[in-house]
């Protein structure tokens, strides 16, 4: 979910919009610390890159940490999408609009 939110947000992705995007899509509150923990794992795997941005007064003078998906991350996301689509295809429980 974090990776997909990054793709949706583009270059302006940092903690606040990422957590808002996940909340909007998933419909439940997310913990910022959990989002950062996930982003750190993704960065270690080379799927995400980060850089420190500008400081603003409403952040108490603290910098934003921006995130963006890497080429490797995009490949992994496409691969996962393909795999999931294949897995979903042909399931009788999800065809015809009835559970």
């Amino acid at each position: 979910m974090v990776l997909l939110s990054l793709i949706r947000l583009g270059e302006d992705a940092y903690g606040v919009p990422i957590s808002r995007e996940i909340e909007a899509q998933a419909g439940r509150e997310v913990a910022l610390a959990s989002v950062y923990a996930a982003l750190q794992r993704l960065e270690t795997k080379g799927l995400v890159k980060s850089w420190l941005g500008e400081t603003t007064p409403e952040r108490g003078g603290r910098a934003k940490k921006h995130f963006a998906i890497t080429a490797k991350g995009l490949r992994e996301a496409r691969q996962t999408h393909r795999s999931l689509t294949q897995l979903w295809t042909g399931l009788p429980q999800f065809e015809g609009g009835k559970p």
Binding site: S19, E29, L32, A33, L52, E58, G60, A63
Partner: protein, 209 residues
């Protein structure tokens, strides 16, 4: 616009050791000051952030965690048991002196022992927490939290065993409440001791919130 809860921010800055701690503080401030989030939300975020950080530190430094628990328990036994023995010795002496006078009551034996021994034990716990923090300077808070949690589990188990052996009908309800408070008091004292060990160092990086 209201400022975020200071205590929560303090907990966040103390308990989070990950490289993104300051970024998370900034994000929480930005989100809270947008006016769309409640104090409850802020507190929830802070507690999760602290928990995630402590858990990650323990998971990533397992040997250090084992050492912290062993060191903590060693100090706990070295400090706490003698002071309890001393309190028991003093109370027994005073009780023997009081028996036969109008001042004696069973409440004296119950409350007198607690009131004398627990402050001493709390001080011993705080000292052991302080030492654990000083001896694990790379991850002091996580190690102190783990040590405090182990003491809490031990004390709580002892409390449950005590309840089983002496069912509530035989023990005054007030004594049970006091016992429960005492179970929480020791881990809290350890945390206070551990947090005070690095207050000077951490406050130097504190910025305005």
């Amino acid at each position: 616009m209201t400022a975020p809860p200071k205590t929560a921010t303090w907990i966040l800055r103390r308990f989070t050791t990950c490289p993104d701690a300051e970024v998370i503080v900034g994000d929480l401030l930005e989100e809270y000051e947008s006016g769309q989030r409640s104090r409850t939300w802020y507190w929830r975020q802070v507690l999760v952030a602290a928990g995630v950080s402590v858990w990650k530190d323990i998971r990533d430094h397992k040997l250090l965690a084992v050492r912290a628990v062993v060191v903590g328990w060693t100090f706990y036994i070295l400090f706490s048991f003698p002071v309890v023995g001393l309190a028991r010795f003093v109370i027994d002496g005073v009780t023997n002196w009081l028996i036969g006078t109008a001042w004696y009551s069973i409440w004296w034996e119950l409350w007198g022992f607690f009131l004398l021994s627990e402050p001493l034990v709390y001080s011993a716990c705080a000292l052991s927490g302080w030492l654990v923090a000083r001896l694990h300077p790379t991850r002091p808070i996580a190690m102190v939290c783990l040590y405090a949690a182990s003491i809490f589990l031990f004390e709580y188990a002892q409390h449950l065993v005590g309840l089983f052996q002496h069912p509530p009908i035989a023990v005054p309800a007030s004594a049970l409440v006091v016992r429960t408070v005492l179970v929480i008091g020791r881990p809290v004292s350890i945390l206070v001791g551990g947090l005070s060990a690095f207050s000077a160092n951490r406050s130097s990086v504190t910025t305005n919130v």
